[in-house]
Subunit: 390 residues, 2 copies
C-alpha cells in the first residue's frame, strides 16, 4: 500500500521560508501557489494549477498557508494549578525563580497518567493553534524518578525532549546547590539521558550560577545531548556567554543583554530564543531587544515558554504579536522566527519550512496574508491545514 | 407554543456579576452552580442540582461560565485592508488620526452587501470568542449616503448603534472642519439619527476640537441620542472633560488622563472605557491607568475598539489580558470591566450579568475559573455556551 498524495491548490499566499521558492525574502512568499504532500513529506511546490497529478486535491482559496510553527521552548509536563499565584503577582507581587518549587511539589504528587493527560491536552491545544513541532522540557521533578517520568511523558509527545533537571534546587536540598548538581550530573543524568535529546539549565540568581551550569551542560554534552540554556531572563548574567562558549544551540529568554552578549550570540551562531509571553506574564519592565540581535547578525527564534508559572500560553500567534509589539521585530521577521527560527534553534532542517523534503506540517490562517498574525492580535486565526500523517 | 426551559447544571464556577448571587465580590462568583434559561432570559440561579424542573438539562462540568462579554466600542463596518499600513507602522511609522481616511475611501467604494458581509463575519468572530452584546459605530462614510448605509448594516447586527459622522474630516472638505460639522449636525444627522442609539465624536488633534465636538454631541442629544466620546487617545486633551460636562455615558480610550480628568470621570459617572488593543497596535508608549481610575471611584469598562487601522482584534479575552498586564487591573476587575462594565457604558441593565431577568448570553471557558482569561493570554478559551435565542 502506498501513501496517497494530496495537492493543496490555489493557496492565496504561501509562506515557504525558503527564499528561492518565493519572493527572495527570508519568508519565501509566493501567491496563488500549490503544495503537494506525499507520505507526510512536501514533494512539490509551485504555481497553482500546475502541480503534477495527485490522488486528492484540496482547494485552499484566498488564505495564507505557512509552515507549522516550531515552538522550541515549553514546559508542558507538570502538576497543579498556579492561577492564584498569577493573580497575586498581577496584584503587585514580584516573580522570582523560587515559584517553580510549588509546581515541583504538585508534579511529584501526580501520577504519570495525570501528567500525560495534562501535557497531551496542552500539545493538542498548541496543534489547534497551528503549531507543528514542539520542544518539551522536564524540570518540575527535582528527583530522579519524577524527572524520568516527566521525560517519558514528553517523549510520548515529541522527539524534541529536553532534560532540565537543573531548573531550580528542590527544597529538600535545603540550599545545598552543589549536592543537587552532583545528582543532576550523576545518577539523574544517567536515567534521563536516554529519554532526552537536549540538556538545559536555568542560569539565574536563585537557580544556578555559571560554574554550576557549566558542569550540568558539559556532563550532558559528554553523553551526547545538545545544549540549550535559560539565560538572562530576570537580570543581566552569565547565561548567554556560557551558552556561546559551549556552542549551545540556543540561549532562551535573552531579556537582559549587554552589547557583548548580543555580539557573542551572533559570533557563536547560538540562536537567541525570545519568549515574550514570559515577559508579558511576569510584568517584566523590559522585553528582549530583537532589533539589536538582528542588526548584529544573530538568529532569532520566538517560542511560547508554555509553563504554569510565568507564561501559561500555548499560542504562537500571541508570541508573534508580542514580538512585534514589544521586541521590535517586523511582522515578517516574527513569522520567520516562529517557524524557521525555531527549527534552527532545534537544529532541525526538516521542519519550519515548506521546501521539498520538509515534514508536511501545514498551517492555515483565516486571513489573506501572514501579516495578519501580528495585525490581528488575540484572534484565533491559525489552525492545522494538515499534519504530516494526514 | 411555549419556549423550552434549559438548566445549565453543575457549573464549576459561575460568574454572575451580581454580588449577592455569589461571594459578595463585584463578580458574584459561586461554585457548583446552576442557571435556568427560559425564552432567552435567565429565570433562576442557584446551587447545582437544586434547580426547578426544566425541559432540558445540560451538564457543564468543571469549567467557568460567565456573562457574554459586552464589547462597548467597535468599528466593524468598513471596506478595504490596512495590513500593509500596519506593517509599516510596526517598522517605525507613527500613527495619527488621518489614517482613517484610507478606510473611508474604501468604505465608500464598497457596496452595502460587501460591508454587511465583512461586518457580519467580524461579529460572528466576536461571538465565537464569547462576546454577547456589541456596540457598532459608523464613521468610515464621511458622506450622508455612506454613513446611512454603514448604520443600516450596524442596525442589522445590534441595537447598540452609534452615529460617528464626526470621526475625521473627509478629504473632500479640504480641511474646512466647520463646513463638515454643519453637515454632521444637519443633513447627515437627520438621515442617521433614526438608525442610531448613540452619537460619538473623535476629539483629537487632526480630528475635532472641543467646541466642534460639543456642537456634534449636543445636536445628537437634541434628537434623542445618548453621548459617548473618543477622548484622550493620542495625547492629553479636552475630550474627557467634555464627556463629563455633557453627561456622556462613556469616555473611550482615556490613555492620557490628568488627575482632574480622573476625578471628573468619577464625579460625573461617565464610564472610562479602556481599549488597550488600540494602545497595543499603535505602539502607544503608555497605556491607560485603570488603577488610578478605580482608586478614584470611576467605573471602568474594557472593549476591543475593533477597527482595521489601530486595533484589528475581536478578542475580549485579549483586551482583558492587556488590561491586566498594562493597565493595572486585577484579573477579576478586568473580567468585570469586560462584562458588567461594558453594560454600564451602554447603560444597559439586562446584559453583562446573569441575574434573574438578564438576557441569557452565557459564555463558557475551557478553564476552571475566570482568572485563566488573564493567566492564559492568547489562548482561545472562551466561546458561547448559549445565546439568548438558544
Amino acid at each position: 500500500m502506498t501513501a496517497a498524495s494530496i495537492c493543496y491548490d490555489r493557496i492565496g499566499e504561501l509562506v515557504t521560508c525558503v527564499p528561492e521558492l518565493g519572493d527572495g525574502s527570508p519568508l519565501g512568499v509566493r501567491t496563488d501557489a500549490a503544495v503537494v504532500v506525499e507520505d507526510g513529506v512536501v514533494v512539490w511546490v509551485g504555481d497553482a494549477g500546475r502541480a503534477p497529478a495527485t490522488d486528492h486535491r484540496v482547494e485552499v482559496g484566498p488564505r495564507c498557508v505557512l509552515p507549522g510553527f516550531v515552538d522550541s521552548h515549553s514546559h508542558v509536563v507538570f502538576g497543579g494549578d498556579r492561577s492564584a499565584e498569577f493573580a497575586a503577582r498581577m496584584a503587585g507581587e514580584p516573580y522570582e525563580a523560587g515559584g517553580i518549587r510549588s509546581t515541583m511539589a504538585a508534579t511529584r504528587a501526580a501520577d504519570t497518567a495525570q501528567l500525560a493527560e495534562r501535557a497531551t491536552a496542552l500539545v493538542q491545544e498548541m496543534r489547534r493553534q497551528g503549531t507543528g513541532v514542539v520542544e518539551i522540557k522536564s524540570g518540575y521533578g527535582g528527583d530522579v524518578d519524577t524527572e524520568r517520568r516527566c521525560l517519558e511523558v514528553a517523549a510520548g509527545l515529541t522527539e524534541e525532549t529536553t532534560y532540565l533537571g537543573a531548573h531550580v534546587v528542590p527544597a529538600a536540598f535545603d540550599g545545598d546547590v552543589d549536592a543537587y548538581v552532583s545528582l543532576v550530573t550523576g545518577g539523574m543524568l544517567e536515567v534521563c539521558a536516554p529519554l532526552a535529546r537536549w540538556v538545559d539549565v536555568f542560569v539565574e540568581e536563585g537557580a544556578f550560577d555559571a560554574d554550576q551550569a557549566r558542569e550540568v551542560l558539559t556532563a550532558g554534552m559528554a553523553v551526547g545531548l545538545g545544549a540549550r540554556v535559560h539565560a538572562n531572563q530576570l537580570r543581566y548574567g552569565p547565561g548567554v556567554q556560557l551558552a556561546c562558549e559551549l556552542g549551545a544551540a540556543s540561549a532562551d529568554h535573552c531579556t537582559h543583554l549587554t552589547r557583548e552578549d548580543v555580539h557573542a550570540l551572533a559570533d557563536a551562531g547560538t540562536v537567541a530564543t525570545l519568549v515574550p509571553g514570559a515577559d508579558f506574564s511576569t510584568r517584566s519592565p523590559v522585553y528582549p531587544d530583537a532589533r539589536a540581535l538582528i542588526d548584529a547578525g544573530a538568529t532569532v527564534a520566538v517560542a511560547t515558554d508554555c509553563n504554569p508559572g510565568t507564561s501559561f500560553t500555548t499560542s504562537m500567534p500571541f508570541a508573534i504579536a508580542l514580538a512585534v509589539r514589544e521586541c521590535g521585530l517586523t511582522p515578517s521577521e516574527a513569522v520567520w522566527a516562529a517557524t524557521r527560527g525555531g527549527a534552527v534553534a532545534l537544529r532541525r532542517h526538516d521542519v519550519g519550512h515548506l521546501g521539498v523534503g520538509a515534514a508536511a506540517w501545514l498551517t492555515v490562517l483565516d486571513a489573506p496574508n501572514h501579516l495578519h498574525l501580528a495585525y490581528r492580535p488575540g484572534v484565533p486565526l491559525a489552525g492545522p491545514l494538515a499534519p504530516p500523517d494526514a
